[in-house]
Symmetry: C2
Subunit: 121 residues, 2 copies
Amino acid sequence: MNVTISSTSDKPIYQQLHEQISAQILGGELESGYCLPPIRQAALELHVSVITVKKAWEELERNGLIHTVTGKGCFVAEFSPDEMLRIRNEMVLKQMEGDIQYYKSFGLTLDEVIALLGKIY
Amino acid sequence: MNVTISSTSDKPIYQQLHEQISAQILGGELESGYCLPPIRQAALELHVSVITVKKAWEELERNGLIHTVTGKGCFVAEFSPDEMLRIRNEMVLKQMEGDIQYYKSFGLTLDEVIALLGKIY
DNA sequence: CAAATTGTGTATTCCGTGTATACACAATGT
DNA sequence: ACATTGTGTATACACGGAATACACAATTTG
């Protein structure tokens, strides 16, 4: 478990957890079949409620990134590299749509966005 | 007042208001010196609380986009085209930093982001 | 000057979400 | 049987967003 929780962030904890684990799975850091730590243990480690961890794990399952077996644990799902890329892009695009809406509301063109993006990436 | 409030959005109303008015000012739709509608009237029109409108207006003032005169109203500030562009980019960049952090957490490169961006912009 | 208009400030209330704690139940493994 | 792990539920608290209402300050208008 390599996760950082920021209590000052505006994002809820369960969402921070979900994003970071998602990124680790889709980035290849966590291999298929890997068993996530028990929710109680994770809750202890992160000084966080069990429910909070569970919420994050639920979201991971909803996205098909892990599968859960009661009594055993939660395991990173198995998928092909292609599928992994597809899921990753799907998640990023979902976020990106909202971002773009914001940029467009200011009348920014695609080129302008790319220019700004290049400055700080 | 040309504003759309979405109660299903995850963004709070005052923020939706602020973003839309900001965009209209920085996009040139609202000229310098233009008098925004009285907060009570805006609240009625949008079926929203006075406080909610005030919160949005406060944020506009904080960003230097309007100036307020008690007893008179709230007026769009005057600034040069250059300054307008600077403020606009400043606001967009502020948002963009968070967006980029998300993309990076998935290991996306700048080129990949641009590619995805181009698909849906 | 008096009244209407507009912005400001404050108090109270309500609701939903995020979070924590605790306990009981279900499935698995030793 | 017992320990471990996930699930479900109930309760409680804090906080932010939002609404309503009222009093006050500054400006405009009659």
